[in-house]
Symmetry: C2
Amino acid sequence: MSVQEQQTIAPLTGIGHRAPRLRAVGTQTQRAPESTLRPSSMPFGTDTPLDWREEDLVASDVYVRKGAVLLYRGSPFTALYVVRSGSCKSVTTTPEGQEQIAAFHIAGEILGAEAIGDRVHDATITALEDSEFCAMPFDRVQALAQKSHDFQRTLHATFAREIRRGRTLARWLATMRAEQRLASFLLDLADRYCARGYSSREFVLRMSRQDIGIHLGLSHETVSRSLSSFHRQSLMRVRGRLLTIIDRKALQAL
Amino acid sequence: MSVQEQQTIAPLTGIGHRAPRLRAVGTQTQRAPESTLRPSSMPFGTDTPLDWREEDLVASDVYVRKGAVLLYRGSPFTALYVVRSGSCKSVTTTPEGQEQIAAFHIAGEILGAEAIGDRVHDATITALEDSEFCAMPFDRVQALAQKSHDFQRTLHATFAREIRRGRTLARWLATMRAEQRLASFLLDLADRYCARGYSSREFVLRMSRQDIGIHLGLSHETVSRSLSSFHRQSLMRVRGRLLTIIDRKALQAL
DNA sequence: CGTGACCTTGAGTAGCCTCAAGAACTGTGG
DNA sequence: CCACAGTTCTTGAGGCTACTCAAGGTCACG
């Protein structure tokens, strides 16, 4: 598992994030030149020229080490964040102490939209590996949305995607059995890696079996057993956290 | 079950919806005088005077009979809708035909936000009783959001609430057992009725056991058994679809 | 007042959880 | 570079929750 699939990385231009280094150290980010939001939130197509620039938006870059926290639940909401490199998880907690992982986020994706109406974040964001984020102060976001129609659409589309993502998760949980949930989760992750220019066939799971289990409403033993089962059936190859999808169709058919 | 809790209804002024009539007939809506969005999407408090008016936004009212469809999945997205009176369900369908009820909506709530980025709706909206909706063409919504800072905040808060709602459902499904899910669902429903000026102690379930089951990832038999169990324990009184919450604390404690 | 949809309850079973123990991996310090 | 400690992962056994199937009762509506 020491070798990562760095060969297959084909960074999109203007994506505003960089490929994660194998063992990131505390270097500071040089700012990506173009729109950070564009590829992750412009399903309308990138042919529309944008009339705004990242410089109007991004205030600062934040570097977070593996296992460290970017945002605590309950902390005041001031900015949206984009994952520049690395990955993280959003953990919500019930008053009773029940944990739920609302989402995993990989490079290029946007965090914090759920906090807008509340003034405080409802999830604790923890880095799954050494990661970089950039902060977009929300007053600037709102100001820019009022100036730029393009940006407004982009922003609204980002919110809408977040809503659909939550509904998709709920559908997995409500209608699927353990192996189906896991297959859906892994294929979704593959698609998201693909959309960011990584391989959709082979990737490294940055989260533990435990985290996957919490996210999908399963015990970590069931996650492990299901992965072993997939491996045995030659639907995928699983070696620790390195995962290679072999029979995509069969996984979809579950 | 012939008697509804009309006595307890205390319609908020300016809420933009009216109390559901017991047996609504095809009367046309007279437009409510004030902001439709305000109470359902202004968690910042209503003390802030709004600098926009409903007339700028609402194009038309739609009347939908019980069981009829307001919007089909896949139909083009042109407008957001507000439930003026009545209630409805949002049903998403997987390619494989798996149904999931993403949400139930009662009077005062907003529909369709998830469709923004996609240009098509991803849920079929069906009325649970004779209901009225008003359409807000999305180009007008966007135009108004650019003119009015108040309205922009209101709109963003609406999106954010929708995101949190999805995450809450996912948390119920991932972490709770059947009775806990059902209790959470019913208490949430009670809170929402309360927020709209209805009784939070006694209300009529507009949806079938089957629908509740699909929403919560349970069989309708389990929903029925759990309700009977709550009744037996005197946590609530259940008579058909009329529900009276007796021991709120015990339900929360589950 | 009849018909169809909805609801309730019971019996048996499957899927997943819990508990448990050992293996593999990760990271750290010698 | 290796040994060790802690974490993560895997696999097995047994039990419980909630599902499926089934049948009878109740309610809504024409």
